[in-house]
């Protein structure tokens, strides 16, 4: 029996699993039709990969900008973005656990990253890792990293 198209595509991408790929390789050694199909899939894949050009970008400048942003963030733990992040995390904990739970997670003067870590941990444990990841995305969504720190730097 010939393998399905999806199976051959997965084989081509080395995704099928060792045993399955061994079975397919055995079949391919005997089946000219499937070998041709696999050749087509491979050539399509090669062509698509070769066609995707890397956009011109100044990688060093981009990285330098990123590292400066990180330094700026670390240097101003009470920036607007950090406060906003903490506020959002508090609201998420309140939503899923309740207001008293915030007191158990937060302590006075806690850094935004630390609160993020604690909130992530409790959400991961009680809500599950995938839902916690979605909550983190929700917390970060549209957060203005610039804030007052950005204004002072301009």
């Amino acid at each position: 029996m010939h393998p399905r198209g999806a199976t051959l595509v997965a084989f081509c991408d080395a995704e099928g699993g060792v045993d399955r790929n061994r079975r397919i390789a055995k079949h391919l050694s005997k089946c000219e039709k499937c070998r041709n199909q696999l050749r087509r899939i491979q050539s399509e894949k090669d062509k698509l990969s070769a066609g995707a050009a890397i956009p011109a970008m100044d990688s060093k400048r981009g990285l330098a900008g990123m590292l400066s942003a990180i330094t700026a963030w670390q240097g101003s733990p009470t920036s607007g973005a950090a406060s906003e992040l903490k506020g959002r995390l508090r609201r998420q904990i309140e939503t899923y656990f309740g207001s008293p739970a915030v007191l158990a997670v937060e302590r006075p003067g806690i850094r935004a990253e630390e609160l993020l870590g604690k909130a992530s941990q409790i959400l991961e444990v009680f809500l599950g890792p995938n839902a916690a990841e979605a909550v983190r995305d929700d917390v970060f969504r549209g957060l203005d990293w610039a804030g007052p720190a950005g204004e002072t730097r301009r």
């Binding site: 087509r40 090669d46 066609g51 890397i54 942003a69 992530s120 610039a146």
Partner: protein, 192 residues
């Protein structure tokens, strides 16, 4: 995702991790985000956003199993959010630093190849195009599934369907790129 509670934040190590990751993945991530957003500035914002969130999550003690897949997922979601918002009114990290976008805008507005641009004309669905795009960036099926919110098995099925449609379109002469048509039809080489 694992976490070691109580461990101190290893910011220096994280910065080095980000540098390595940026040098390795930034180009591909920018290309992917650019193709998805049709806008290089949004793509650059997505790139910076993904790396900044990566820094925050790592600083918070989060262990990220597949950094590449994670970055692509964040960039993907960021671009979709921006598209949903309709206009680019979010302030990116470059405004924090007041630096211009390092991507060369004029020529980079269509970073994706003619072949990938043509996928839509070939009748591929948005999900199939996304799967093809992400695979061209060497993401594993599991990572693609994470980015697109699918099952790993569905990724394989979508890619197979995409190949079927490409073959059909090439057979019908929909795609104008003759090299591609010849390559696909003729099977110039077989990479094992």
């Amino acid at each position: 995702m694992d976490r070691s509670p109580g461990s101190p934040p290893l910011t220096a190590g994280i910065e080095q991790e980000i540098v390595d990751l940026y040098e390795r993945e930034a180009g591909a991530l920018l290309r992917y985000a650019g193709a998805l957003a049709d806008n290089q500035e949004t793509a650059y914002d997505a790139l910076q956003e993904a790396f900044f969130r990566f820094f925050l999550c790592r600083s918070a003690g989060q262990q990220i199993r597949s950094a590449k897949g994670w970055l692509f997922r964040v960039a993907h979601n960021y671009v979709l959010d921006q598209k949903k918002a309709g206009s680019r009114n979010e302030v990116g990290i470059e405004s924090l630093l007041n630096v211009p976008c390092p991507a060369h805008r004029p020529e980079a507005d269509s970073p994706i190849s003619d072949l990938l641009q043509g996928l839509r004309r070939m009748g591929l669905s948005p999900r199939e195009i996304e799967c093809v795009r992400l695979r061209t960036e060497d993401l594993r099926y599991e990572e693609i599934a994470g980015v697109l919110g699918l099952q790993a098995g569905t990724v394989g099925a979508l890619l197979a369907r995409a190949h079927g449609k490409i073959r059909k379109a090439v057979g019908n002469g929909v795609h104008k790129n003759r090299d591609f048509a010849q390559a696909v039809a003729g099977g110039k080489r077989y990479a094992s």
